[in-house]
Symmetry: C2
Subunit: 241 residues, 2 copies
DNA sequence: CGGACTTTGTGACCGCGAGAACAAACTCGC
DNA sequence: GCGAGTTTGTTCTCGCGGTCACAAAGTCCG
């Protein structure tokens, strides 16, 4: 999913034994962190891998292996300390401090994102909303004034922004991405249904609702086809045993 | 990502040689379809795998292999016919006809989704908006009246809905999912940051913005750390050759 | 203090998916 | 009609990721 390019030194190998957490694990760490936060809110101090895994919806062995990439933070025979593990995961992800984020394109979706409170509680702070449309200028959304797109570079520099969200129409997405990169942003979350071209070193993640729905539709089609077949063949339900 | 359970007959093996398209391929087919649609709009009749792959942002060999799962729809020495291939992909995904969809939770996000025009053009039709809150009842959003959550079963049955979207707070997500399944929905797109428990045969896909941002944050952290190291070690740029 | 029990951390195995390379098949020009 | 050129479809290999199973390590009770 991520268009993460290989490191700057293309051929260097760069096998620093420091840490290299598998991408699949990185994608699950936030889930674990959320579960742990929820446990902490219920004043649960300690927790086994089995319980954690169940709450996160994954296999317990997978969870243990994931956590082992960060170090040995559990106690055998007991489990994991909720607060301690939470902190370790947050530190690994890099959300012990807040990341400033900007949103470009304050339409339907952009406004919903700006109004969304879930970001601030999970390590992010929306510092600016930008839009190119004349009639959006000066309007206030979620307590922030909508600023002209031309101010992008200035804002990024002033607030040290490295993460940008794109919620403009697909046709404008590449232009916005180019401007973001030019301004110094190196991570982009893209909601527009467009393939973004970015230079090495810049990460792009895309969220595409139509694709998600179409994947569901595919499985629905097959379920329907399967059901038809089962009707034709008569019942196939496990009467074997 | 998908919590698709194994088929009804858990141990049956079900090796129907009919078709079994790899999940990774299924996730890319919608991207190809979008690219093809875009080409068709520009009156481009034919296209090589190389061009398609570039526009979709994937490797051309991978694209060819993906397409080969549907059959041999290309012409060697020429490429693919845009309209023909579009239709074949749409048929495989199952979006030659529209799928009725309902959205539950018409808050910030739900309203943005309801107002989003992109769904209808990609094989989906929002047939109902549901919300539990008293003050939402009777309001009209995107040309549809918001209906009480209690009407869920009735609507699903009347409109033959099999796909549901959840955009309620995380605490309510499991309840809504249960009700959806009870009503006969078998595919769920979940925006709430919660792990949903559903019976076998029901597909769930989740879209979690906080997780996406946290993954970006992780890579940002590492980029920052890397940059620090490079400064310490002096330049490491490819001077080797 | 020791043994039984619990739970972590990890080694081994397997299957999916990505990518490179190539043979087959088709078109087009002569 | 035929050869050169082009592009597909497929085979092979390799590495990542998921799962099982177990040894190591710690706790707790008698
Ligand atoms: N609304 C949804 O629920 C939804 C769902 C999935 C995907 N999307 C995607 O998200 C994007 C935005 O959707 P939306 O419904 O909010 O659209 P919208 O038309 O409501 O909003 C787009 C905003 O972007 C601004 N804009 C346009 N060009 C710009 C530019 N070059 N620079 C800065 N701002 C610019 C416009 O002024 C407008 O305010 C689209 O690509 C859409 O496909 C939206
Ligand atoms: N707004 C965003 O941009 C955004 C981004 C990421 C994730 N999310 C997630 O999407 C979900 C919705 O976010 P939101 O900002 O729209 O919240 P919101 O509070 O604005 O809207 C939630 C809506 O759900 C309704 N609701 C609550 N319980 C219900 C129930 N049991 N049955 C039916 N309806 C019910 C409420 O009446 C309300 O209208 C949340 O889980 C949130 O974490 C939102």
């Amino acid at each position: 999913m991520t268009a993460r390019s290989t490191n700057t030194g293309e051929g260097s190998g760069a096998q620093d034994p420091h840490r290299d957490i598998p991408e699949a694990t990185v994608a699950r760490l936030p889930v674990y962190l959320r579960v742990l936060t929820s446990l902490a809110e219920r004043n649960i101090a300690s927790c086994s891998s089995e319980e954690l895994a169940a709450a996160a919806g994954v296999n317990s062995a997978k969870l243990r292996k994931d956590l082992s990439y960060l170090g040995s933070y559990g106690t055998r025979g007991v489990g994991y300390d909720v607060d301690y593990l939470s902190y370790q995961i947050a530190r690994e992800i890099g959300v012990t401090h807040d990341w400033p984020v900007i949103i470009v394109g304050i339409g339907n979706l952009g406004q919903a994102l700006a109004n969304f409170s879930g970001f601030s509680s999970r390590g992010f702070r929306t510092v600016a909303l930008l839009d190119a449309a004349e009639q959006m200028q000066g309007r206030t959304v979620a307590g922030l004034e909508v600023r002209p797109f031309a101010d992008l570079a200035e804002i990024v520099a002033a607030e040290q922004v490295s993460i940008g969200v794109i919620s403009v129409p697909a046709t404008a997405a590449q232009d916005v991405a180019d401007a973001m990169v030019e301004a110094g942003i190196s991570s982009i979350l893209n909601f527009a249904p467009a393939v973004l071209n970015v230079p090495p070193g810049v990460d792009v993640r895309k969220v595409d609702l139509s694709i998600e729905l179409q994947i569901l539709a595919y499985h629905e089609s097959r379920k329907a086809a399967e059901a038809d077949e089962t009707v034709d063949n008569g019942s196939e339900e496990g009467i074997t045993a």
